[in-house]
């Protein structure tokens, strides 16, 4: 069995500042690391590895610096890393990273199970795994707090707090892992000392997947960043039919821009 864990290299959101006038991010001196929720996916994969002797591969999509996320995953005990790489891949949203990863899976390497965290700490979209499953046309389960392998399929205990539900899905599949899965282990010093060996991480440039930088702005063009406000009066709750709410949101955003 081969398990991939999608990890994202994210800034500590509490340290990021936004320049009020220019709407740009100020991220010098911000600490980066593995997206905290991805640790649960790594933990889930490593527990499955202990039970089934599966091979665990950490995969990330990002620029040069994202390499560190893979090294940290290696420190936790994953077998190897795959870095889907381009210099221009800085802050990208999940539609882009899901498409890049799906191309890699289609063209280069198949996995039996792809695990992800619930959301990233920077953009907080929470839809990466859904998009990935759709692009690959794989079955999908959300919010796993337990995963069991049963010949060719998995039983996922899904966490819809306070309810839980059990679902059996065939492999290959995509599963997002809940932060109630269990405390993720720390990377250990023994594995850290091996983590930077050359052969541990495979770097795959976008061109090798038949993609180019155009993909970055295919779905979403970033205009500016702004602070969200907690103040009363600024915050509004929209209700009504979904279509109308969506339209109102678009209007609000247009006003803002």
């Amino acid at each position: 069995m081969k398990i991939a864990v999608a990890v994202k290299y994210t800034p500590n959101p509490y340290q990021v500042k936004i320049h009020v006038r220019t709407g740009t991010l100020l991220i010098e001196d911000v600490e980066f690391g593995v997206n905290p929720k991805d640790f649960y996916a790594l933990e889930a994969a490593l527990r499955l590895k202990e039970k089934t002797n599966a091979e665990v591969v950490a995969v990330t999509v990002g620029g040069e610096e994202a390499d560190e996320a893979l090294r940290e995953a290696l420190g936790m005990g994953v077998d190897r890393g795959v870095h889907l790489f381009d210099k221009a891949l800085g802050f990208i949203e999940s539609a882009v990273s899901a498409e890049i990863l799906s191309e890699y899976v289609k063209k280069v390497e198949k996995f039996d199970l792809i695990l992800t965290g619930m959301e990233s700490s920077d953009l907080k979209g929470g839809v990466f795994s859904t998009r990935l499953a759709a692009l690959l046309d794989y079955p999908f389960a959300v919010g796993a707090r337990d995963i069991e392998v049963e010949d060719g399929s998995i039983i996922v205990v899904q966490d819809f707090f306070p309810k839980i539900s059990k679902v059996k899905i065939p492999l290959p599949a995509v599963v997002s892992v809940s932060d109630r899965f269990g405390e993720p282990r720390y990377p250990n010093m023994w594995a850290i000392s091996e983590a930077y060996k050359d052969d541990k991480v495979k770097k795959v440039p976008l061109e090798d997947l038949g993609l180019d930088r155009g993909i970055i702005e295919k779905y979403l063009k970033l205009r500016r960043y702004a602070l969200y406000s907690d103040e009363e009066g600024v915050r509004r709750r929209l209700s009504g039919p979904k279509d109308e709410v969506a339209k109102s949101i678009v209007e609000v955003i247009k006003d803002y821009l």
């Binding site: 690391g33 560190e68 090294r71 940290e72 420190g75 720390y186 990377p187 250990n188 010093m189 023994w190 850290i192 000392s193 983590a195 930077y196």
Partner: protein
């Protein structure tokens, strides 16, 4: 002389992980640990051991993580920066007890003890200090007498970190009184040996999360195989081991100063005086600049020494010759950097305490604890007075500064 200070990537990652460990595991119990007087926090040690922190510097072949002294110092900058108590526990186990065994033990001794120690299954301690032999370590009165295939040890050791939970202690004892310091030998003593017992626990001003005890040896019989290294070389072994121990103290002190600097910056950005943020006052700006400069300088000095110790220990462990000028350089820089870094931390903390006023004086607050905890760095692993004496005397004897 190394002028490149960037850490190797493994050490950087280890440091980052240690920082997370500190934030998640030490931060919540910081106050509780400060109340302990008697016992070392065993579950914390277990967690650290599982991560490989208890053997981070020792080579892989002996069960360690193989990150060397630089990796060890990087980790200790984070741990010591946050909790002098826990840094003291790790330091006494790894930096002193385990390192002494690694550096000077023969292959059988290394194979027998190191795998357990580096995995943290066993805890080590370092038994040098006595009532009348602290700075004057050559004055020890604990004795070891040869009887057949055994050594019989008698005496008392004080201020022994980890002594209460240690599985082995490196005990320094006089084997030939006539030779003075040259008649001291080191022994590996397993603490379940009959005649070995733990005496009083010492109550301390700071580092209360780490137990400091008295050890009593009454006719403790250890097999002759437990003589560490060669006979009558113990004093040198002790000094060399402490050269390394001091370096991690330097790194921890720099970490503590950095933490307090960040505390001041954060405080000054929030607190207001006369309606103006404190950060707008020149007094604060100057303090931040001064502490910042010292933290920077101290960090360079500490890691420069770590690099030297890394080379030094590798040579010793592989039984390669160490040229005398190099040995002197290591001892001098280790003494000076420990003196400088420990004092810069205390200076920084005292300055910040005064600037934030009463909050700096309240019990249970970061500053008050940091103040009490930082003093020990000026005392242990050789008092700063002794460091001044060693380095100053040598420089004067040479006739000029050595560059």
């Amino acid at each position: 002389m190394p002028i490149e200070f960037s850490l190797p990537p493994e050490a950087k990652l280890a440091k980052k992980v240690a920082k997370r460990f500190v934030e998640n595991e030490l931060y919540p119990i910081e106050e509780e640990m400060d109340k302990y007087f008697k016992e070392n926090p065993r579950d914390l040690i277990e967690k650290a051991a599982k991560m490989g922190l208890m053997g981070v510097s020792i080579p892989k072949e002996y069960g360690g993580a193989g990150l060397g002294e630089i990796g060890y110092c990087a980790v200790m900058e984070e741990i010591g920066g946050f909790s002098s108590s826990f840094a003291t526990i790790v330091g006494a186990h790894l930096g002193l007890g385990t390192t002494a065994l690694y550096l000077f033990g023969n292959e059988e001794q290394r194979k027998k003890y190191l795998p357990k120690l580096t995995k943290g299954e066993w805890i080590a301690a370092f038994g040098l200090t006595e009532d009348q032999a602290g700075s004057d370590a050559s004055n020890i009165t604990t004795t070891a007498k040869r009887e057949g295939d055994e050594w019989v040890l008698n005496g008392r050791k004080i201020f022994i970190t980890n002594g209460d939970i240690a599985d082995i202690v490196i005990i320094f004892a006089m084997t030939d009184k006539a030779l003075g310091a040259g008649g001291i030998s080191a022994f590996i003593v397993e603490t379940d040996t009959p005649g070995f017992s733990v005496g009083s626990h010492f109550r301390k001003m700071g580092i209360r999360g780490s137990a400091t005890v008295e050890l009593i040896l009454e006719d403790v019989r250890v097999p002759k195989e437990n003589l560490l290294g060669e006979l009558n070389r113990g004093f040198i072994y002790g000094l060399v081991t402490l050269d390394g121990g001091r370096t991690t103290v330097s790194c921890g002190a720099v970490g503590a100063a950095r933490r307090i600097l960040n505390y001041l910056i954060e405080y000054a950005n929030i607190a207001k005086r006369k309606g103006i943020p404190m950060s707008h006052y020149q007094t604060i700006q100057w303090a931040v600049a001064e502490i910042g400069a010292e933290v920077r300088a101290g960090k360079f000095f500490a890691y420069h020494t770590a690099k030297l110790i890394d080379e030094y220990f590798e040579k010793i462990a592989k039984r390669k010759p160490v040229p005398r000028p190099f040995r002197e350089l290591v001892t001098r820089d280790s003494a000076l950097s420990k003196m400088y870094c420990s004092e810069l931390a205390s200076r920084a903390i005292e300055k910040v305490m005064r600037l934030v006023g009463a909050y700096g004086y309240l019990e249970g607050y970061t500053l008050e604890r940091a103040f009490r905890d930082s003093i020990i760095s000026e005392i242990y692993e050789g008092t700063n007075e002794i460091q001044r004496y060693v380095a100053g005397r040598e420089l004067i004897r040479r006739g000029r500064w050595f560059e």
